[in-house]
């Protein structure tokens, strides 16, 4: 599988490392060059960050067939916009967006995006710990 991940924070970097270790072809994008440090030295995938993170290069990434795009920056609205843009423009079959706001996550799921809402997940986990 070829996956493109936007946002190399705590989640994005771990996801990239795991998927790459499992033999998948991974591209990681982040505006901030420094963020790539979280990938560690042995990361086998491709990266696009800092000064190279520009329109032309982003488009070039998607010239190669991509199976899934995953938007996990720390900003809900950025994830939402990119997921929709990439899905529509480059006909990427799957786009997954992390959305902290439960209402936004629900709305965009109804609109056909695959959404992950950490707030809802934590809520359910805590409820189940408390057995309420």
């Amino acid at each position: 599988m070829r996956a493109v991940i936007l946002g190399c924070g705590k989640l994005g970097s771990r996801l990239a490392r795991k998927l790459a270790a499992a033999g998948h072809q991974i591209v990681v994008m982040d505006r901030d060059q420094e963020a790539l440090k979280q990938l560690g030295e042995n990361f086998k995938g491709e990266t696009l960050a800092g000064r190279a993170y520009i329109e032309e290069n982003i488009q070039r990434i998607f010239e190669e067939k991509t199976d899934v795009f995953i938007a996990v920056t720390d900003k809900d609205n950025v994830n939402i916009m990119f997921a929709q843009w990439i899905k529509n423009k480059f006909k990427v079959p799957r786009a997954i967006a992390r959305i902290y706001d439960p209402i936004l996550a629900g709305s965009y799921r109804d609109l056909g995006l695959e959404t992950v809402c950490p707030t809802n997940m934590a809520l359910e986990a805590i409820q189940s710990m408390l057995k309420v």
């Binding site: 329109e55 900003k75 809900d76 609205n77 950025v78 939402i80 916009m81 990119f82 929709q84 843009w85 529509n88 423009k89 706001d101 209402i103 936004l104 709305s107 109804d110 609109l111």
Partner: protein
């Protein structure tokens, strides 16, 4: 008309003042505490502190009864979510989004935004038009799908339509004169309205017909040479 504007920067602030002065009911939403504090004395009940891309704030602002929602923050992703969320959750207000990165204009049309305004494109058009001095047709607003535009022009003394009635012009199908600014006066034109020199006109036109409209309204440079 009740209009919600999101983003209290220069564009949002001036637009709020303009619409208020025209007698509209307006609510400006600003999420920066300091910016809000600097505007609240002047705008009073017409400004709300909050994040316009959340349901809570839009609901508090009364988005369910707004006829239009205008997102003019400096962040395209926020403008997109504000407009999409409004469309999904409320009773179909018209949505207008400011586009900061021209690339996003095309994206927005595909994603259910009714109209986009791009300052970059506008200024670029102005610069281009400066070069072609007799050819000032300025695109102000692009309606959903990018097929229809509102353009503005001011009629030069040598324009072939000066002193003609609108109904006597041979216009491309679907072209509509929206308004004429003549001095201090704003005229909602009818078929028998005369066009005069220095009139500022707003015209709704299909993009495909823009070049034809240009030829009709402008005095072609070649004609002048022959004259």
């Amino acid at each position: 008309m009740y209009i919600i504007i999101v983003g209290g920067g220069k564009v949002g602030y001036q637009l709020t003042k303009l619409l208020l002065s025209q007698g509209h009911e307006v609510m400006l939403i600003e999420k920066d505490r300091n910016k809000f504090a600097s505007l609240v004395d002047e705008l009073g009940d017409s400004i709300l502190y909050g994040d316009g891309s959340t349901m809570e704030t839009l609901t508090e602002a009364g988005a369910n009864r707004a006829e239009a929602i205008v997102a003019v923050t400096g962040h395209d992703e926020d403008n997109l979510v504000i407009c999409q969320l409004s469309k999904m959750m409320f009773f179909g207000p018209r949505t207008i989004a400011r586009v900061n990165n021209p690339r996003n204009e095309e994206t927005f049309w595909g994603l259910g935004i009714d109209a986009t305004v791009s300052a970059t494109r506008l200024i670029n058009a102005l610069i281009q038009e400066q070069v072609k001095a007799h050819d000032m047709l300025i695109p102000l607003l692009t309606i959903r799908g990018g097929d229809v535009e509102i353009v503005q022009t001011s009629l030069s003394p040598s324009s072939p339509v000066v002193n003609k009635k609108i109904k006597d012009l041979v216009l491309p199908k679907g072209t509509l004169f929206i308004s004429i600014n003549r001095g201090e006066e704003v005229i909602i034109p009818r078929g028998d309205t005369d066009l005069r020199e220095d009139d500022q006109v707003l015209v709704l036109v299909r993009k495909a017909h823009e070049a034809v409209l240009r030829q009709i309204l402008m005095a072609p440079a070649t004609d002048r040479k022959h004259a």
